[in-house]
Protein backbone atom coordinates (compact mmCIF):
# COMPACT_ATOMS: atom_id res chain seq x y z
CA UNK A 1 0.00 0.00 0.00
CA UNK A 2 1.43 3.39 -1.01
CA UNK A 3 1.46 6.69 0.86
CA UNK A 4 -1.37 8.15 -1.27
CA UNK A 5 -3.42 5.02 -0.50
CA UNK A 6 -2.89 5.52 3.22
CA UNK A 7 -3.76 9.21 2.85
CA UNK A 8 -7.03 8.36 1.12
CA UNK A 9 -7.83 5.79 3.80
CA UNK A 10 -7.14 8.40 6.47
CA UNK A 11 -9.53 10.82 4.76
CA UNK A 12 -12.26 8.15 4.59
CA UNK A 13 -11.85 7.14 8.26
CA UNK A 14 -11.87 10.83 9.28
CA UNK A 15 -15.03 11.45 7.23
CA UNK A 16 -16.77 8.47 8.85
CA UNK A 17 -15.78 9.45 12.39
CA UNK A 18 -16.90 13.06 11.76
CA UNK A 19 -20.32 11.96 10.51
CA UNK A 20 -20.63 9.48 13.37
CA UNK A 21 -19.72 12.04 16.04
CA UNK A 22 -21.99 14.75 14.65
CA UNK A 23 -25.01 13.63 12.64
CA UNK A 24 -25.36 10.03 13.82
CA UNK A 25 -25.25 10.80 17.55
CA UNK A 26 -28.20 13.16 17.14
CA UNK A 27 -30.16 10.62 15.10
CA UNK A 28 -31.77 8.35 17.67
CA UNK A 29 -34.31 5.71 16.77
CA UNK A 30 -35.94 4.23 19.86
CA UNK A 31 -33.07 5.59 21.93
CA UNK A 32 -30.44 3.91 19.76
CA UNK A 33 -28.12 5.76 17.39
CA UNK A 34 -26.69 4.26 14.19
CA UNK A 35 -23.00 3.28 14.20
CA UNK A 36 -21.47 3.80 10.77
CA UNK A 37 -17.93 3.03 11.97
CA UNK A 38 -18.96 -0.64 11.69
CA UNK A 39 -19.39 -0.14 7.95
CA UNK A 40 -15.66 0.41 7.46
CA UNK A 41 -14.49 -3.17 8.20
CA UNK A 42 -17.58 -4.59 6.48
CA UNK A 43 -17.07 -2.81 3.15
CA UNK A 44 -13.27 -3.10 3.39
CA UNK A 45 -13.81 -6.86 3.72
CA UNK A 46 -15.89 -6.84 0.54
CA UNK A 47 -13.50 -4.61 -1.40
CA UNK A 48 -10.16 -5.86 -0.17
CA UNK A 49 -10.73 -9.33 1.26
CA UNK A 50 -10.23 -10.75 4.76
CA UNK A 51 -6.78 -9.29 5.56
CA UNK A 52 -7.67 -5.74 4.55
CA UNK A 53 -11.06 -6.04 6.21
CA UNK A 54 -9.35 -7.06 9.43
CA UNK A 55 -6.75 -4.26 9.16
CA UNK A 56 -9.44 -1.67 8.48
CA UNK A 57 -11.51 -3.02 11.40
CA UNK A 58 -8.53 -2.73 13.72
CA UNK A 59 -7.51 0.83 12.81
CA UNK A 60 -11.05 2.20 12.42
CA UNK A 61 -11.91 0.52 15.73
CA UNK A 62 -9.01 2.23 17.50
CA UNK A 63 -10.19 5.60 16.14
CA UNK A 64 -13.79 4.86 17.23
CA UNK A 65 -12.55 3.85 20.69
CA UNK A 66 -11.14 7.35 21.17
CA UNK A 67 -14.71 8.63 21.47
CA UNK A 68 -16.32 5.78 23.41
CA UNK A 69 -16.61 5.26 27.15
CA UNK A 70 -16.23 1.48 26.71
CA UNK A 71 -12.78 -0.21 27.12
CA UNK A 72 -10.12 1.11 24.75
CA UNK A 73 -9.31 -1.54 22.11
CA UNK A 74 -12.69 -3.30 22.25
CA UNK A 75 -13.93 -1.84 18.95
CA UNK A 76 -10.56 -2.67 17.37
CA UNK A 77 -10.81 -6.30 18.49
CA UNK A 78 -14.39 -6.77 17.29
CA UNK A 79 -13.77 -4.73 14.14
CA UNK A 80 -10.87 -6.88 12.94
CA UNK A 81 -12.84 -10.08 13.54
CA UNK A 82 -15.88 -8.76 11.67
CA UNK A 83 -13.75 -7.40 8.79
CA UNK A 84 -12.07 -10.79 8.46
CA UNK A 85 -15.39 -12.69 8.60
CA UNK A 86 -17.06 -10.47 5.98
CA UNK A 87 -13.97 -10.67 3.75
CA UNK A 88 -13.87 -14.46 4.00
CA UNK A 89 -17.62 -14.91 3.53
CA UNK A 90 -17.70 -12.76 0.38
CA UNK A 91 -14.51 -14.10 -1.22
CA UNK A 92 -16.22 -16.52 -3.54
CA UNK A 93 -19.15 -14.21 -4.31
CA UNK A 94 -19.59 -11.71 -7.12
CA UNK A 95 -18.43 -8.52 -5.38
CA UNK A 96 -19.95 -6.31 -8.06
CA UNK A 97 -23.48 -7.50 -7.20
CA UNK A 98 -25.57 -4.62 -5.87
CA UNK A 99 -27.31 -6.78 -3.29
CA UNK A 100 -24.07 -7.86 -1.65
CA UNK A 101 -23.03 -4.69 0.29
CA UNK A 102 -26.42 -4.11 2.00
CA UNK A 103 -26.72 -7.80 2.89
CA UNK A 104 -23.12 -7.95 4.17
CA UNK A 105 -23.69 -4.73 6.14
CA UNK A 106 -26.87 -6.16 7.67
CA UNK A 107 -25.23 -9.42 8.74
CA UNK A 108 -21.82 -7.87 9.58
CA UNK A 109 -23.37 -5.15 11.76
CA UNK A 110 -25.50 -7.66 13.64
CA UNK A 111 -22.43 -9.83 14.24
CA UNK A 112 -20.44 -6.77 15.36
CA UNK A 113 -23.06 -5.58 17.88
CA UNK A 114 -23.56 -9.03 19.41
CA UNK A 115 -19.79 -9.71 19.58
CA UNK A 116 -19.20 -6.26 21.06
CA UNK A 117 -21.70 -6.89 23.86
CA UNK A 118 -20.48 -10.43 24.55
CA UNK A 119 -16.75 -9.61 24.52
CA UNK A 120 -17.41 -6.45 26.56
CA UNK A 121 -19.23 -8.44 29.22
CA UNK A 122 -16.44 -11.04 29.27
CA UNK A 123 -13.75 -8.39 29.91
CA UNK A 124 -15.47 -6.86 32.92
CA UNK A 125 -18.37 -4.80 31.58
CA UNK A 126 -21.32 -7.08 32.47
CA UNK A 127 -23.85 -4.28 31.85
CA UNK A 128 -23.10 -4.48 28.11
CA UNK A 129 -25.02 -7.72 27.77
CA UNK A 130 -28.01 -6.36 29.73
CA UNK A 131 -28.89 -3.63 27.23
CA UNK A 132 -31.79 -3.93 24.78
CA UNK A 133 -29.61 -5.89 22.35
CA UNK A 134 -32.29 -6.81 19.74
CA UNK A 135 -33.22 -3.14 19.37
CA UNK A 136 -29.57 -2.06 18.96
CA UNK A 137 -28.96 -4.87 16.44
CA UNK A 138 -32.05 -3.86 14.47
CA UNK A 139 -31.35 -0.11 14.32
CA UNK A 140 -27.62 -0.42 13.65
CA UNK A 141 -27.95 -3.21 11.07
CA UNK A 142 -30.77 -1.60 9.09
CA UNK A 143 -29.12 1.85 9.11
CA UNK A 144 -25.85 0.33 7.92
CA UNK A 145 -27.60 -1.72 5.21
CA UNK A 146 -29.13 1.52 3.88
CA UNK A 147 -25.78 3.31 3.93
CA UNK A 148 -23.73 0.37 2.62
CA UNK A 149 -23.56 1.41 -1.05
CA UNK A 150 -22.29 4.98 -0.48
CA UNK A 151 -19.83 3.60 2.08
CA UNK A 152 -18.65 1.03 -0.47
CA UNK A 153 -18.00 3.81 -3.00
CA UNK A 154 -15.88 5.71 -0.51
CA UNK A 155 -13.84 2.71 0.57
CA UNK A 156 -13.39 1.57 -3.04
CA UNK A 157 -11.93 5.01 -3.79
CA UNK A 158 -9.51 4.65 -0.88
CA UNK A 159 -8.46 1.01 -1.07
CA UNK A 160 -6.29 -0.30 -3.90
CA UNK A 161 -7.84 -2.76 -6.35
CA UNK A 162 -9.68 -5.69 -4.79
CA UNK A 163 -7.60 -8.66 -3.83
CA UNK A 164 -8.82 -12.22 -4.06
CA UNK A 165 -6.06 -13.34 -1.72
CA UNK A 166 -5.55 -16.70 -3.37
CA UNK A 167 -9.17 -17.57 -4.01
CA UNK A 168 -10.70 -17.12 -7.46
CA UNK A 169 -13.93 -15.11 -7.63
CA UNK A 170 -15.08 -15.95 -11.15
CA UNK A 171 -14.70 -18.73 -13.72
CA UNK A 172 -12.26 -16.53 -15.70
CA UNK A 173 -9.87 -16.06 -12.81
CA UNK A 174 -10.37 -19.70 -11.84
CA UNK A 175 -8.99 -20.62 -15.25
CA UNK A 176 -6.06 -18.30 -14.80
CA UNK A 177 -5.17 -19.94 -11.51
CA UNK A 178 -5.12 -23.32 -13.11
Amino acid sequence: MTTPDLGRLGVVVLAFVTVQQTLMLDLRIGGVHPDIMILLPVVAGIVGGPARGALMGFWAGLVADLFLPTPFGLSALVGCIVGFCVGTATLALDRSALWLPPLAALAGSALYVVLYAVVGSVIGQPQMIHVDLPRIVLVVSVANAVLALPALRMVTWALPAASTEGVPTSPATLGAHR
Binding site: Q21, L25, P50, A54, T70, L74
Partner: protein, 277 residues
Protein backbone atom coordinates in the same frame (compact mmCIF):
# COMPACT_ATOMS: atom_id res chain seq x y z
CA UNK B 1 -8.10 -26.28 -6.55
CA UNK B 2 -5.97 -23.29 -5.56
CA UNK B 3 -4.71 -23.21 -1.98
CA UNK B 4 -6.08 -20.42 0.19
CA UNK B 5 -3.36 -18.11 1.45
CA UNK B 6 -2.51 -18.23 5.17
CA UNK B 7 -1.69 -14.52 5.26
CA UNK B 8 -5.19 -13.27 6.20
CA UNK B 9 -5.39 -15.65 9.14
CA UNK B 10 -1.93 -14.61 10.35
CA UNK B 11 -2.95 -10.95 10.00
CA UNK B 12 -6.14 -11.57 11.98
CA UNK B 13 -4.24 -13.44 14.70
CA UNK B 14 -1.73 -10.58 15.06
CA UNK B 15 -4.49 -7.97 15.16
CA UNK B 16 -6.48 -9.91 17.76
CA UNK B 17 -3.33 -10.25 19.88
CA UNK B 18 -2.63 -6.52 19.49
CA UNK B 19 -6.22 -5.64 20.48
CA UNK B 20 -6.20 -7.92 23.51
CA UNK B 21 -2.86 -6.43 24.57
CA UNK B 22 -4.25 -2.89 24.27
CA UNK B 23 -7.39 -3.80 26.26
CA UNK B 24 -5.29 -5.47 28.97
CA UNK B 25 -2.84 -2.57 29.22
CA UNK B 26 -5.69 -0.05 29.27
CA UNK B 27 -7.29 -1.85 32.20
CA UNK B 28 -4.12 -1.19 34.22
CA UNK B 29 -2.78 2.11 35.55
CA UNK B 30 0.03 3.52 33.40
CA UNK B 31 -1.23 2.87 29.87
CA UNK B 32 -4.74 4.02 30.82
CA UNK B 33 -3.34 7.49 31.55
CA UNK B 34 -1.90 7.57 28.02
CA UNK B 35 -5.14 6.42 26.35
CA UNK B 36 -7.12 8.82 28.52
CA UNK B 37 -4.83 11.66 27.40
CA UNK B 38 -5.22 10.70 23.72
CA UNK B 39 -9.02 10.46 24.17
CA UNK B 40 -8.99 13.89 25.77
CA UNK B 41 -7.05 15.40 22.84
CA UNK B 42 -9.44 13.75 20.33
CA UNK B 43 -12.47 15.09 22.18
CA UNK B 44 -10.97 18.59 22.34
CA UNK B 45 -10.20 18.52 18.60
CA UNK B 46 -13.69 17.26 17.72
CA UNK B 47 -15.60 19.51 20.08
CA UNK B 48 -15.51 22.63 17.82
CA UNK B 49 -16.10 20.45 14.72
CA UNK B 50 -19.21 18.98 16.37
CA UNK B 51 -20.47 22.41 17.40
CA UNK B 52 -19.80 23.83 13.91
CA UNK B 53 -21.62 21.01 12.13
CA UNK B 54 -24.53 21.21 14.59
CA UNK B 55 -24.77 24.94 13.87
CA UNK B 56 -24.98 24.20 10.13
CA UNK B 57 -27.27 21.18 10.33
CA UNK B 58 -29.83 22.59 12.77
CA UNK B 59 -31.03 25.45 10.53
CA UNK B 60 -31.09 23.14 7.50
CA UNK B 61 -33.16 20.62 9.47
CA UNK B 62 -35.50 23.36 10.63
CA UNK B 63 -35.81 24.65 7.06
CA UNK B 64 -36.64 21.18 5.69
CA UNK B 65 -39.12 20.53 8.49
CA UNK B 66 -40.69 23.91 7.80
CA UNK B 67 -40.94 23.15 4.06
CA UNK B 68 -42.67 19.84 4.69
CA UNK B 69 -45.05 21.50 7.08
CA UNK B 70 -45.73 24.32 4.61
CA UNK B 71 -46.87 21.81 1.97
CA UNK B 72 -49.42 20.31 4.30
CA UNK B 73 -50.63 23.71 5.37
CA UNK B 74 -51.26 24.80 1.79
CA UNK B 75 -53.76 22.00 1.23
CA UNK B 76 -55.92 23.31 4.04
CA UNK B 77 -56.50 26.84 5.05
CA UNK B 78 -53.10 28.36 4.36
CA UNK B 79 -53.20 31.51 6.34
CA UNK B 80 -55.13 30.26 9.35
CA UNK B 81 -53.11 27.12 9.67
CA UNK B 82 -49.86 29.06 9.47
CA UNK B 83 -51.01 31.27 12.31
CA UNK B 84 -51.92 28.25 14.41
CA UNK B 85 -48.54 26.70 13.68
CA UNK B 86 -46.80 29.88 14.62
CA UNK B 87 -48.66 30.03 17.90
CA UNK B 88 -47.97 26.38 18.59
CA UNK B 89 -44.32 26.83 17.79
CA UNK B 90 -44.22 29.87 20.07
CA UNK B 91 -45.92 27.91 22.83
CA UNK B 92 -43.54 24.97 22.41
CA UNK B 93 -40.58 27.34 22.46
CA UNK B 94 -41.90 29.04 25.60
CA UNK B 95 -42.49 25.68 27.26
CA UNK B 96 -38.99 24.66 26.28
CA UNK B 97 -37.55 27.87 27.69
CA UNK B 98 -39.63 27.49 30.85
CA UNK B 99 -38.35 23.96 31.29
CA UNK B 100 -34.77 25.12 30.81
CA UNK B 101 -35.33 28.02 33.22
CA UNK B 102 -36.89 25.66 35.74
CA UNK B 103 -33.89 23.32 35.57
CA UNK B 104 -31.44 26.23 35.83
CA UNK B 105 -33.32 27.80 38.75
CA UNK B 106 -33.41 24.46 40.52
CA UNK B 107 -29.66 24.13 40.03
CA UNK B 108 -29.02 27.45 41.76
CA UNK B 109 -31.05 26.34 44.73
CA UNK B 110 -29.85 22.85 45.57
CA UNK B 111 -30.33 22.46 49.34
CA UNK B 112 -28.15 19.36 49.57
CA UNK B 113 -25.06 21.02 48.09
CA UNK B 114 -24.38 23.03 51.25
CA UNK B 115 -21.06 24.84 51.18
CA UNK B 116 -19.65 22.93 48.25
CA UNK B 117 -18.62 24.99 45.23
CA UNK B 118 -20.50 24.15 42.04
CA UNK B 119 -19.90 24.61 38.34
CA UNK B 120 -23.02 24.80 36.13
CA UNK B 121 -22.85 22.95 32.81
CA UNK B 122 -25.06 22.26 29.83
CA UNK B 123 -25.69 18.71 28.65
CA UNK B 124 -24.35 18.60 25.09
CA UNK B 125 -24.83 14.95 24.22
CA UNK B 126 -26.64 11.87 25.47
CA UNK B 127 -23.96 9.20 25.32
CA UNK B 128 -21.63 8.20 22.50
CA UNK B 129 -22.16 4.48 23.01
CA UNK B 130 -25.29 2.35 22.90
CA UNK B 131 -23.70 0.22 25.61
CA UNK B 132 -23.06 2.78 28.36
CA UNK B 133 -25.24 5.32 30.19
CA UNK B 134 -23.21 8.51 29.87
CA UNK B 135 -23.73 12.18 29.01
CA UNK B 136 -21.35 14.82 27.70
CA UNK B 137 -21.32 18.21 29.42
CA UNK B 138 -20.03 21.60 28.35
CA UNK B 139 -17.30 22.08 30.96
CA UNK B 140 -13.89 20.46 31.29
CA UNK B 141 -10.50 20.82 32.92
CA UNK B 142 -10.24 24.40 31.61
CA UNK B 143 -13.20 25.39 33.77
CA UNK B 144 -12.18 23.30 36.80
CA UNK B 145 -14.12 20.08 36.17
CA UNK B 146 -11.73 17.25 37.03
CA UNK B 147 -11.89 13.48 36.73
CA UNK B 148 -13.96 11.85 39.50
CA UNK B 149 -15.96 14.95 40.47
CA UNK B 150 -19.65 14.31 41.31
CA UNK B 151 -22.35 15.78 39.09
CA UNK B 152 -25.81 16.67 40.40
CA UNK B 153 -29.02 17.87 38.81
CA UNK B 154 -32.36 19.14 40.02
CA UNK B 155 -33.50 16.44 42.43
CA UNK B 156 -30.27 14.70 43.24
CA UNK B 157 -27.17 12.85 42.14
CA UNK B 158 -26.61 12.44 38.40
CA UNK B 159 -23.24 10.69 38.24
CA UNK B 160 -19.50 11.16 38.16
CA UNK B 161 -17.02 12.56 35.65
CA UNK B 162 -15.15 9.66 34.04
CA UNK B 163 -13.41 11.54 31.23
CA UNK B 164 -12.30 15.14 31.59
CA UNK B 165 -11.19 16.99 28.46
CA UNK B 166 -10.13 20.61 28.07
CA UNK B 167 -13.58 22.06 27.46
CA UNK B 168 -15.94 19.08 27.76
CA UNK B 169 -16.40 16.10 30.07
CA UNK B 170 -18.07 12.72 30.01
CA UNK B 171 -20.27 11.82 32.98
CA UNK B 172 -21.14 8.24 33.87
CA UNK B 173 -24.78 8.26 35.02
CA UNK B 174 -25.77 6.45 38.22
CA UNK B 175 -27.93 4.14 36.08
CA UNK B 176 -24.89 2.83 34.16
CA UNK B 177 -24.05 -0.79 34.87
CA UNK B 178 -20.58 0.21 36.11
CA UNK B 179 -21.94 2.75 38.60
CA UNK B 180 -21.82 1.92 42.33
CA UNK B 181 -22.99 4.43 44.96
CA UNK B 182 -22.61 3.97 48.72
CA UNK B 183 -25.83 5.16 50.38
CA UNK B 184 -27.52 5.65 53.73
CA UNK B 185 -31.23 5.19 54.52
CA UNK B 186 -33.64 5.05 57.41
CA UNK B 187 -33.70 7.01 60.68
CA UNK B 188 -30.48 8.74 61.79
CA UNK B 189 -27.66 7.70 61.81
CA UNK B 190 -29.04 5.50 59.03
CA UNK B 191 -28.20 2.07 57.70
CA UNK B 192 -25.72 1.56 54.89
CA UNK B 193 -26.39 0.02 51.47
CA UNK B 194 -24.97 0.06 47.97
CA UNK B 195 -26.86 1.14 44.85
CA UNK B 196 -25.84 -0.29 41.48
CA UNK B 197 -26.98 0.80 38.04
CA UNK B 198 -28.79 -1.57 35.66
CA UNK B 199 -28.40 0.39 32.43
CA UNK B 200 -29.84 3.55 30.88
CA UNK B 201 -33.52 4.07 31.71
CA UNK B 202 -33.53 1.17 34.15
CA UNK B 203 -34.17 1.46 37.91
CA UNK B 204 -31.38 1.11 40.47
CA UNK B 205 -30.82 -2.00 42.52
CA UNK B 206 -29.94 -1.87 46.23
CA UNK B 207 -27.79 -4.46 47.95
CA UNK B 208 -26.82 -5.00 51.61
CA UNK B 209 -30.36 -4.15 52.79
CA UNK B 210 -31.17 -6.74 55.49
CA UNK B 211 -34.23 -8.90 55.08
CA UNK B 212 -37.50 -7.58 56.59
CA UNK B 213 -36.22 -3.99 56.69
CA UNK B 214 -39.33 -1.78 56.87
CA UNK B 215 -39.04 0.32 53.71
CA UNK B 216 -41.88 2.44 52.40
CA UNK B 217 -42.42 3.56 48.82
CA UNK B 218 -40.81 6.95 48.28
CA UNK B 219 -38.20 6.56 51.03
CA UNK B 220 -35.08 8.43 49.98
CA UNK B 221 -31.56 7.03 49.92
CA UNK B 222 -28.71 9.58 50.23
CA UNK B 223 -24.97 9.25 49.64
CA UNK B 224 -23.17 7.84 52.67
CA UNK B 225 -19.94 9.84 52.35
CA UNK B 226 -17.97 7.22 54.21
CA UNK B 227 -14.18 7.51 54.23
CA UNK B 228 -12.90 6.85 50.73
CA UNK B 229 -16.34 7.37 49.20
CA UNK B 230 -16.46 8.88 45.72
CA UNK B 231 -19.38 11.20 46.60
CA UNK B 232 -19.82 13.66 49.49
CA UNK B 233 -22.42 12.71 52.08
CA UNK B 234 -26.06 13.75 52.10
CA UNK B 235 -26.80 13.98 48.37
CA UNK B 236 -30.23 12.46 47.58
CA UNK B 237 -29.76 9.63 45.08
CA UNK B 238 -32.97 7.66 44.62
CA UNK B 239 -36.31 6.75 46.14
CA UNK B 240 -37.77 3.34 46.85
CA UNK B 241 -40.20 2.04 44.24
CA UNK B 242 -40.53 -1.57 45.33
CA UNK B 243 -39.29 -3.69 48.19
CA UNK B 244 -39.69 -7.44 48.60
CA UNK B 245 -38.02 -10.48 50.07
CA UNK B 246 -34.87 -11.11 48.07
CA UNK B 247 -33.59 -14.27 46.49
CA UNK B 248 -31.29 -14.71 49.48
CA UNK B 249 -32.81 -15.07 52.93
CA UNK B 250 -30.60 -12.36 54.41
CA UNK B 251 -31.23 -9.54 51.92
CA UNK B 252 -34.21 -7.49 50.83
CA UNK B 253 -34.72 -6.94 47.11
CA UNK B 254 -35.12 -3.18 46.70
CA UNK B 255 -35.78 -1.30 43.47
CA UNK B 256 -35.27 2.46 43.36
CA UNK B 257 -35.68 5.23 40.81
CA UNK B 258 -33.19 8.11 40.55
CA UNK B 259 -34.46 11.41 41.97
CA UNK B 260 -32.86 13.42 39.16
CA UNK B 261 -34.70 13.08 35.86
CA UNK B 262 -31.84 11.49 33.91
CA UNK B 263 -33.76 11.22 30.64
CA UNK B 264 -34.48 14.95 30.31
CA UNK B 265 -31.29 16.51 31.62
CA UNK B 266 -30.38 19.87 30.08
CA UNK B 267 -28.35 21.51 32.81
CA UNK B 268 -26.33 19.97 35.62
CA UNK B 269 -23.90 21.15 38.30
CA UNK B 270 -20.44 19.75 38.81
CA UNK B 271 -19.52 19.65 42.50
CA UNK B 272 -15.93 20.90 42.83
CA UNK B 273 -15.20 18.19 45.35
CA UNK B 274 -12.70 15.36 45.58
CA UNK B 275 -12.56 12.52 48.09
CA UNK B 276 -10.38 13.46 51.10
CA UNK B 277 -6.94 11.90 50.67
Amino acid sequence: MPRRSRRPRTTLLLLVLASVTIITLDARGGFHRITSGVKSVAADVFSPVRRGIDDVVEPVGSFLAGSVHYGAVRQQNQKLQAEIDQLRSQQASEQDNAQALQQLSALFNLPFVGNLQTLPAEVTNYGTSNFAATIDISVGRGQGAELGMPVVGAGGLVGQIVQSNHSTSTVRLITDGQSVVGVRYGPSPGSLAVLTGQGAGQPLDASLVPSNTPLTGGEIFTTSGLQGAIYPSGIPVAQVVRSANGVTASQESVTLEPLADLTHLRYVSVLLWGPPS
